[in-house]
């Protein structure tokens, strides 16, 4: 990687799972991965290790809701957006939650 520093950070490429080649990523990819991880973490789970107690919104847990219901989908969408806006690298953001058949 030519980039040795990046305002959006450099980290291991982890999206769902760790890249088998331990590839690094930076820029928008790194930011996007970090945002995905926010949505995989249960709120408050990091508090026990002394990290940000406000980090996290567990989106997979919301799959138990009836996402065919517009109001449930609206709540999920708003909650996810709120969580993503906590990342200090994000200046503004829109989200669109879409329910898809299994």
């Amino acid at each position: 990687m030519a980039t040795t520093s990046d305002p959006l950070g450099i980290d291991l490429a982890v999206s769902g799972d760790l890249d088998p080649n331990f590839r690094l990523c930076h820029g928008a990819e790194n930011l996007s991965n970090a945002l995905c991880r926010r949505l995989s973490c249960t709120a408050g789970a990091l508090e026990s290790i002394g990290d940000d107690p406000a980090y996290g919104y567990n989106l997979p847990d919301q799959l138990n809701l009836d996402t065919s219901d517009d109001s449930a989908l609206a709540i999920i969408n708003a909650s996810a957006r709120n969580e993503l806006l906590k990342d200090p690298r994000v200046q503004s953001l829109t989200t669109q939650a879409i329910s898809v058949p299994d």
Partner: protein
């Protein structure tokens, strides 16, 4: 049913967008740089929210430092730092902290209230600094007000004064948007009482 999330945002390095897939265990980034048809305006976003986007330190009330001393005039600077957003048309409490006014001399406390603020989509954002009132409620004595119509952050300053509270009192930061669903956002607020 499954769930996907289309995300489009702006960072200090420019626009970004991606699609995330939600499965039973994780949220995976599916695609970067999607042809985005995500909502283009705040008005298209479903849900009505008041967002504490970020704030330093723990949330909730806290005792605030009083600076000065040494025989000189003291100031009170409540910790109002953070990034907050509200798309609610009613005045809404964003943050409250306890401040100790006992070090301020005289019967009146003057305040300089400054922050970076913006409002989305042509709405007017109104941000108020209040003192006193009920815990957790957007009330209390109005001390200073900031308004903004710009969609980019502007530094705005207001001044005011309030009868000096006796000892500890709540200092509250509230927000109000003129159009429900269009965000009024505030960050890096500072209020200095003298």
């Amino acid at each position: 049913m499954g769930l996907i999330l289309k995300i489009a945002g702006e960072s200090s390095e420019g626009d970004f967008d991606f699609v995330a897939s939600v499965n039973d265990m994780t949220v995976d980034r599916l695609k970067q740089g999607m042809p985005s048809d995500a909502p283009a305006t705040q008005g298209e976003i479903v849900g009505t929210t008041v967002t504490v986007v970020s704030q330093s330190g723990a949330g909730g009330p806290s005792i605030l430092s009083v600076s000065g001393g040494g025989g000189g005039a003291q100031t009170v600077q409540p910790d109002l730092d953070g990034l907050y957003s509200s798309d609610v048309a009613a005045e809404t409490l964003l943050k409250q902290v306890l401040a100790d006014f006992s070090g301020i001399t005289g019967t009146t406390a003057a305040v300089a209230f400054s922050s970076y603020v913006r409002a989305m989509g042509g709405a007017t954002g109104t941000f108020r600094l209040r003192v006193g009132g009920t815990d957790g409620v957007a009330d209390g004595t109005l001390v200073a007000t900031l308004t903004v119509t710009s969609t980019s952050y502007q530094m705005v300053t207001g001044t005011g004064s309030v009868a000096k509270p006796v000892g500890l009192a709540l200092v509250k930061l509230t927000a109000q948007t003129s159009v429900t669903g269009l965000d009024a956002q505030i960050k890096s607020a500072v209020a200095i009482f003298t």
